[in-house]
Structures are given as structure tokens and as C-alpha cells.
Subunit: 196 residues, 2 copies
DNA sequence: AGGCAATATTAACACTGTTAATATTATGAA
DNA sequence: TTCATAATATTAACAGTGTTAATATTGCCT
């Protein structure tokens, strides 16, 4: 690890390989030998650039977040500020994980190697949905439409509800059909995103 | 598997062993050899009574649900029907999984061997919190305090919110402190369990 | 071209779940 | 009781996992 540019390039090869596997076959297909083969290197080479496989896969999360955010922006452009925009953006957020269940597993199911290590990555994941709608929450605050306590409460409500729905649907096959999932989602978002 | 009584007794040995490990060291410590040793048998013997290790661990869920329900009933006895009773019972439900994080992992994180197989067990897990508060929801319906649509919506809101909070706290160390977790929980339950 | 440092690969270890072959135990008939 | 057979338990083995140490290969500079 003398040449920093070459080192980062090598890391990127492994990260791209891991991303493809996670996107396609999911977290179950992730293994040191699998990722290395996809990257075109031997399995032990991976350890010259990452301390372990968990560290590697969690580095993928920043790229996935970017990609997800791009989809959300596409799906919500030209929309006026307000609850409806949050609703659309949140549904787009959820759609991304429905498309790539392996990425949901990585974000919320998989547990990191060490609890303390790479805490920033986990923090970014935890606050992801909050950041997706940050513009809107700020708008509500500035226009005095909602006060800060209410905003924090609704932000949390949305966060837990959305991840809960995805957890049940993707990890527990509940509800059984996609249509039921869509209906529950719409109902729940409507409950959270309204003035009481 | 000639004598059904002896067979069930053997299964119970393995189930009890698995339960102790899940309660104590968590799902990470579950392995065929580990469970078998705790049960006092060789690892291959397990396969005479269970098709695989996943089937075995998911059989533990019925016992855990019973135990959890007993705690909830203890914590909520002598309470009048109403939102407060749901709140207390739901907090007790959550407390159980905070006490035994391994059981939360088993219930909501771990995925079964086959999707179709043992669907009833998964269904019982999915509906567990609903059943915990079924008495109260029925009471609200009978007394015309809430209509059926509202009840179903609130039931779902509670379900997703509660599991979401536990997922973040137990699997993502968010929030960092137990006190913050308690405050968020109380706030969220108050939001869901009120008349709009 | 030779030597040294950087990097990549193979071999090995301790695990995992699962199955097949073997050893042990229990049961019933002579 | 003895022996054969069925039932059950155990060991050996296989293919997989993550990770580390020893070895092979590459690239660079004198």
C-alpha cells in the first residue's frame, strides 16, 4: 500500500464486485472467494485492502445511498413542498429496497463486524431516510407550519414505520401480495403525514 | 421414530438446549454441534428429529411467545381497558426483547430455511403483537369507541413502529443510550395511541 | 541484469451444515 | 437366554465459510 491511487483503485474493484453480487444475488451470495473471483483476484488479495469482508460490504452502502437518492430525486422532481412530496419521496425510497432486497438486508439486517468500528457508516444508514426528507422538514420549520418537537416526532414515526413495513414484507413475507403491501404503505404514510 | 412419546421427548431436549443458547449467548452461538452438545448428544443425532437447524430454532418461538405473554400479563394485571393498557402491554412486549436480544433476532431478523415450509410459525410471529393487544382492540370495537378501519390502521401502525424501534436499537445501536430509547418509545406510543 | 520491496497466490486452520457409513442399543422370537 | 433384526446414535467425510502464514510472482530502481 505504497501508491495511494493504485490502492484506492484496487479497493474500488472489490467494492464494485461486491455491489454487483449484492444487487443481483443478495447478501447470501456474498463470500470472500465469491467477491474476489468477481473482481478477478484471489481471495486472500482482498485482505491486502480490507480488514475483513464485513468492512468491505459496508463500504458499498455509500454508493447505494447515492444511487437511491438519485432515483428519489428523479421520482419527485417538479413537486411542490409539502406532505405529498414527502410521501412520494418515501415511497420511492421504499421502492428502491423492493427492487434490491439484498441492499435492504445490508442496510438494516446485517450486523457490522465490530460495534464501535466504522460507526460513521452505520450513522449514515440510520439517518438516511431522515436526510431524504430533510428539505421538507426544514421547510415546515421555516414556514412555522409545524414546530420542532412535532417534526422530530413525525420524522421518527416515519423512520420506524417505513423500515418496519419493509422488514415484514421483505423478511417475513407479510403481507403476502405486493398489492396488499402497497395499500398498507399508503395507509400508513397517510396516517403519519397529516396534521392532527 | 417409532415411539411418538420418546420422539417428542428427544425433540424437547434439543429445543430446550437451543432455547438456553439463544437466551444466553444469542443466535450467533447457535450451531448444530453447539446445540447437540448442550443437549448431551452427538451433532448428527439432531437430524433424526429435525430436518435442519433452522427448523429447530423456529420451533423455539412458540415457547418464547408463551413466556413473553406471561410477562406481559404480569406487567398489566389489574389495569383498566384503554389506550394506557395497550401502552403498558406493548412496553412489556418490547422489554422482553431488550432482555433477550437473541430472541428478537430469531423472531424478526433470522430467515427461515424455506419460504413455504412452516408458514404457520412465521404467521404466529407476524401476528404476535396484534394478538398481545387483541382484547383491547376488540373492546374498542364493541364499545364503538373506534371503528374497524381505524383499529386496523392503528394496529398496523403499532406493529411496524414497535418492531422498527427495536430493530434500530438492537441491531443498529440507535439511539445510543437506553434512556433515549425509552423516551423515543414513549413518544412514539403516545402518537399512535391517541384519538385524532 | 540483479536485487529488493510490493503485491498476489496457494496452503492451511478452525469453523459451519449436512449426509453416508458405521457402531451401538433396544426389541422380539426361538 | 440367545440371536437376529430393527431402531437409534456416532464417527467420518464433504463442501462450504472467514482468516492468516508461508510462498510465489511481479514491478521498480540501481
Amino acid at each position: 500500500m505504497q501508491n495511494k491511487i493504485q490502492e484506492q483503485r484496487m479497493r474500488e474493484y472489490f467494492i464494485q464486485a461486491a455491489k454487483e453480487i449484492i444487487r443481483g444475488e443478495g447478501m447470501r451470495a456474498i463470500s470472500v472467494r465469491n467477491v474476489a473471483e468477481q473482481a478477478g483476484y484471489s481471495y486472500a488479495t482482498l485482505y491486502n485492502y480490507f480488514t475483513n469482508i464485513k468492512d468491505l460490504v459496508f463500504e458499498c452502502t455509500v454508493d447505494f445511498q447515492e444511487e437511491c437518492l438519485e432515483q428519489i430525486d428523479r421520482d419527485s422532481k417538479n413537486l411542490d413542498m409539502g406532505f405529498d412530496r414527502i410521501k412520494i419521496r418515501t415511497k420511492s425510497f421504499m421502492k428502491y429496497f423492493i427492487q434490491y432486497p439484498g441492499i435492504f438486508t445490508l442496510f438494516y439486517i446485517e450486523n457490522p463486524s465490530t460495534i464501535a468500528k466504522k460507526h460513521s457508516t452505520i450513522d449514515l444508514i440510520n439517518s438516511f431516510l431522515d436526510r431524504v426528507n430533510q428539505q421538507e422538514w426544514d421547510y415546515f420549520l421555516e414556514t412555522h407550519y409545524l414546530n420542532e418537537a412535532i417534526i422530530e416526532s413525525k420524522k421518527a414515526q416515519l423512520r420506524y414505520n417505513v423500515i418496519g413495513i419493509l422488514l415484514f414484507y421483505l423478511n417475513r413475507q407479510f403481507p403476502k401480495t405486493y398489492n396488499d403491501y402497497l395499500q398498507i404503505t399508503d395507509n400508513q404514510l397517510s396516517m403519519v403525514l397529516k396534521i392532527d
